[in-house]
Point group: C2
Chain length 374, copies 2
């Protein structure tokens, strides 16, 4: 595995070299992890461009143990490791201090992550250093996943399907959104997740279908729509699944109609996931059926997004997004409609973009999308 | 309640005015909440200094509802509320754009929270505006709590005691650290917490007593030390309790000796919590007994810290900390000793500093600190 991280760092080194930087300081946690293989909280990676010497700088934890027995990966053996002597020092500042002013004149930093105060502290320890912006270079590099990463996502999806499947077998009426959400998170861990990939959302009745709904004390009632959104974090990789069910023996006509509509929109979005398709065209495929049915106004700003070491990554599947899908990019497709006061439907899958020759998009979250009456 | 927030904003306005700022932009979430009474994720507060017009700027959530049914507080009614038109706009940039260049020349921002990229975006929409540093002014204002805040912390502590008490009544041998931690978090929510105040730590055997230990798959065994650290988040206020137990019928002599030592150190720290005592003297009181016993080397960098809307606030109880305790400051006292390969002891309470005339420090976390054999 160690080689993987060295290759990733090599690619970043090439980009930095092309941009004229002598070194790069990576501070965004998911980026550090991507390049270092695992890192304790607060660690930063100093990438030497000319001298090819990379250092992972870790703050000392209260125990003095930089790795702290974390399950989510150990730093790559090929890296030089530096543990700071006190709990108060900023590894980013220490990194700048490590650079030899004779050979390192330009340091690229992640301006979208470093605070103004840290940036200033770096400048004050290394006043002759020119600070450039690395921008979202590492995030862009992370967009296309290798097969090792995809297999972690596949396991994360399997765990999520298992947790959801068990919930469906239990009695739901009378339980609160909050308790169902906690139960799902416990089941994720039972099945081997390191934790939930994001805060689980359970929405009942009038709340159903609201994206980002925080579980409340409302209890599941007969006749409700119930929408659930969860995902496992497995070795740092995060996926997402969302389903909507009906509580009771038979759904009402408006529920069937709304479900069929969102299902068709989601299928259209999934089917648009081919290499070379513009992000905005995937969004349009999923959005169009909902707009045609008159639900254009209340729609979410996007119908999907990339996943990986963060639950919300590039690309954005949205009307104004620029760019085209590549193979091996995992994304969600998650259109939904929410009718204020009545509830709604949301269907959410994680898939990997694959060429048609390989069978088209690979569906990671395989729980059924039939409308189940529970 | 609305008056409380207006008073807080008034105090901040006075400080900004004294520092020569015409407006202040508060972006750190706990600070926004402290001043606005509640705010959706990503909201920022623009404090008008001269014109006394304060605006809470909220990013539009996917549902278009800025408050999103969150339990942790609604924005103060006295505030002007502004919801941004798109999901992509930065409320901090929109805030700078709201200012009238004729009257607002200097804007104080939180340089320890704003990223370099956001700071630059603010400068580009308002190039004539002088950006100053607000620093940790709001954090300092938050250090001393009012009785309303302390009563929220008291409830958070009560919930934490209840969750811990129930765990002690259950069978522990054979269960994993990970499961015990999840069970504690579920019980916190059962008793009314909005969630855990931080990630619950359960550490068994050789892991016991390690601060910040991440729960693993190790199972509780006879003869183990078991150390647990948890806390409830109640209406945004976070407390912390930590206890160490012995598994089995009777503790070994070394376990009793180590426990008695840490207990004495923790009591000395608690007894030092009087208004006017230097932070470092509280730390020394708790640290000294452990150092005298020969455990100086492996000790944590601090023996306690403030709590409130964040689980880790000022003051720091540490050897080099500057400042003195005030009344109505809630802090933790949490010394511990960890012996590599054998385990250790950690005892952690949340208390409020009170004058001796009022009975001395108020202990919020009241679970017994006798050495229980479970």
């Amino acid at each position: 595995m160690s080689e993987v991280y060295a290759v990733r760092r090599g690619r970043l080194r090439d980009r930095c070299s092309a941009a004229g930087s002598d070194a790069a300081l990576v501070s965004l946690p998911a980026n550090v992890r991507y390049l270092a293989g695992g890192a304790p909280p607060g660690a930063v990676l100093l990438l030497g461009v000319a001298d090819q010497r990379d250092v992972l700088l870790c703050p000392r934890t209260p125990t003095g143990d930089p790795a702290d027995g974390r399950r989510d990966g150990r730093p790559d053996d090929g890296l030089r490791l530096s543990v700071l002597p006190t709990a108060t020092g900023d590894p980013a500042v220490a990194a700048a201090d490590l650079l030899d002013p004779a050979t390192a004149r330009t340091l690229a930093v992640e301006e979208h992550h470093l605070t103004v105060a840290r940036h200033r502290a770096i400048r004050s320890v290394a006043p002759r250093l020119l600070l450039a912006d690395l921008g979202r270079t590492v995030e862009q590099q992370r967009t296309v996943k290798d097969e090792e990463e995809i297999s972690q996502l596949r396991i994360a999806a399997e765990i999520s399907d298992q947790a959801l499947g068990e919930l469906l077998e239990s009695i739901l009426v009378g339980r609160t959104e909050r308790h169902l959400a906690l139960e799902l998170e416990r089941r994720l861990v039972d099945h081997g997740a390191d934790g939930p990939a994001f805060r689980t959302s359970v929405a009942t009745g009038p709340n159903a279908g609201r994206p980002g709904h925080s579980p409340s004390d409302r209890r599941v009632e007969e006749g409700d729509f119930l929408s659930v959104r969860l995902g496992a974090n497995y070795h740092g990789y995060r996926c997402e699944i969302g389903r909507t069910f009906v509580i009771g023996s038979s759904p009402a006509d408006w529920q069937i109609d709304l479900y069929d509509l969102v299902f068709a929109a989601q299928r259209a979005g999934r089917e648009a996931l081919t290499p070379g398709t513009a992000y905005r065209d995937v969004d349009r495929a999923a959005r169009q059926p909902l707009e045609s049915a008159g639900y254009g106004e209340g729609l979410a700003a996007r119908t999907g997004h990339g996943v990986g070491l963060e639950i919300d990554e590039d690309p954005q599947l949205a009307p104004a997004a620029m760019g085209k899908l590549d193979a091996c990019v995992p994304v969600t497709v998650e259109p939904g409609v929410h009718l204020p006061g009545r509830g709604g439907v949301r269907i959410d899958d994680t898939l990997v973009v694959r060429p048609e020759a390989d069978g088209g998009p690979e569906l990671l979250t395989i729980t059924t999308k039939e409308l189940l009456a529970l």
